[in-house]
């Protein structure tokens, strides 16, 4: 299914594919360690978007003219690509959305409103991103549902025993993150889904972070919904994917009304289109889809297994290097982790760490990472975060490590 790379992984070659990586920041070579926020775009992705706007731009599913046919073909071909990428059964199960946030909102609004009733319970975890909390809270307020939260231990691992205790006859939905954007914890998603399905509870997997770091097979996971943000997968912003099992998507009402999602409209009655159009009201982000397709192609030419292997090696190197820095404390020490390292340096505030590292050309994230409940659980207001991608190198990590003593010197 995934292509085997033609040549061994050569990070310097890879880096040349990303124009931004040759940029200087504050006079220093850019070291981009903020990949969990958004990833950089390869020339292939940028060119594909350019090419589309320059030579192929037209609306889809509407015109009978050649350009519209071309645009429609690219749009639907990408759906096939994503289907193969996730190993979904059918391309109808791939719904284009703006990103993970919209995907979760879609499921909460459509599935949640239709099938959950007063007193029902939804299970989330303590390490969720706000985007996997707030839509459910809004639904809970509206329908008088209850949110139940799987606690974590101090290392940042889910307490699976507690999870099992939370399951009850009123549990009607589970929505959970695969890889934590704040801690890098890889959750035992397959096990959680298996347990949930024993009780016939559908599970949404927030794949915002996981999709770029590991091979995901939605049929193997057996998840009911899976979400992707294109911009965290080396694609453009404003495009993402909701995967849903066909039998669930089919019984769900539309999320938004408008063009393309209807079969026929009259003032007496409107009938809805079939999947996937039912969930794609209005002119979509066609250029975004084109870019996403190019990103998937690009990843496939390298191979996600090769990427995962390289990144994990890099992650281990970074963890070792950072562990050896006096005064630096890693937050989140789960046994199964990848790509993300949150840390603190003494009592220096993460924002100050961020500003000072930026001065050395190093882009990291500082703050609560849109996971305030997790920060509260850990007794923190913020962390500094390094998040890696396959274009990062060990020498970048070394340079990062060499920048830390100066940080302590400034605040001594």
């Amino acid at each position: 299914m995934k292509k085997i790379p033609q040549t061994p992984f050569d990070v310097n070659q890879i880096r040349r594919d990303f124009p931004i990586l040759s940029k200087k920041i504050n006079g220093k070579p850019l070291i981009y360690f903020d990949n969990a926020a958004t990833t950089q775009k390869s020339e292939k992705v940028i060119d594909a978007v350019c090419q589309y706007y320059k030579y192929d731009n037209a609306n889809i599913h509407r015109g009978v003219h050649t350009l519209s046919e071309t645009a429609t073909a690219i749009y639907e071909k990408t759906r096939e690509k994503v289907k193969t990428f996730l190993n979904a059964k059918e391309s109808d199960e791939i719904i284009y959305v703006r990103g993970t946030t919209e995907a979760i909102n879609l499921v909460a609004n459509s599935y949640g409103r239709q099938f959950l009733e007063e007193g029902d319970e939804i299970i989330l975890s303590e390490m969720e991103h706000h985007s996997n909390i707030v839509p459910w809270q809004q639904l809970c307020d509206e329908k008088k549902l209850k949110l139940r939260v799987i606690p974590i231990n101090d290392k940042g691992e889910l307490l699976l025993d507690e999870f099992e205790k939370l399951i009850c006859p009123r549990t009607k939905f589970i929505s959970i993150v695969y890889i934590s954007n704040s801690l890098g914890t890889i959750n035992p998603i397959k096990q959680i889904i298996h347990k949930a399905h024993e009780h016939e509870i559908p599970v949404l997997v927030d794949g915002a972070q996981s999709t770029s770091h590991m091979m995901v097979d939605v049929q193997d996971l057996d998840c009911d919904f899976y979400t992707i943000s294109g911009h965290k997968l080396y694609g453009p912003t404003g495009i993402g994917v909701l995967y849903g099992k066909k039998h669930l998507l089919e019984k769900m009402p539309p999320y938004q009304g408008g063009g393309d999602m209807i079969r026929s409209v009259s003032f007496k009655k409107t009938t809805y289109n079939v999947l996937p159009n039912k969930f794609e009201a209005g002119t979509p982000n066609i250029a975004g889809v084109v870019g996403l397709g190019a990103a998937v192609d690009y990843i496939n030419t390298i191979g996600l297994d090769v990427i995962a292997h390289y990144e994990h090696d890099l992650f281990k190197y970074a963890t070792n290097t950072l562990s050896n820095i006096d005064g630096l404390k890693i937050i989140g020490t789960a046994a199964d982790k990848t790509a993300v390292i949150s840390f603190l340096c003494g009592d220096i505030h993460p924002h100050d760490i961020g500003t000072i590292l930026d001065h050395n050309g190093i882009a990291i994230r500082a703050g609560h990472h849109c996971t305030q409940p997790l920060m509260e659980r850990l007794g923190l207001t913020a962390t500094a975060r390094v998040s890696l991608a396959f274009y990062n190198t060990k020498s970048e990590i070394d340079y990062f490590a060499e920048s830390i003593p100066n940080l302590f010197r400034i605040f001594s």
Binding site: H351, I356, H368, A382, F411
Partner: protein, 150 residues
Amino acid sequence: MSNLNDIYQEMILDHNKSPRNFKQMENPTQHLEGYNPLCGDKLTIYLCIKDDIIEDISFTGSGCAISKASASIMTDKLKGKTKLEAEAVFHAAHDMLTGKIKDKDDILKQGNLAALSGISQFPMRIKCATLAWHTLHAALNGAHQTISTE
């Protein structure tokens, strides 16, 4: 290019390390919480105002070096000032932090506040520095609910 020394001036680092008036006030006449939702930083400003004079001012909270130092410098500057004078200092500080005061002599005229002048070159950090000042301004104008930088 912005210079790191512009933002992390010695005075800023000193006020961060040993913040002045960094304590909860026993019987304040006013107190108000300020919140920066972008970073989650919170601080509370306490005021003891008698006959329109700020007899005492203090703050508590957690935040970065910039927000803490800015609050500390602010309390130092305002103790003993009338409300009207405090209002004028607020506007001067605000103009300094948002880069509206550019002339070097004008900056130096502001005394300790001059230490805040470099922050305007770091747009992502301006709100860290203005948090204390906006909270103070709202407290002086009778606000009771937590104020937000957003």
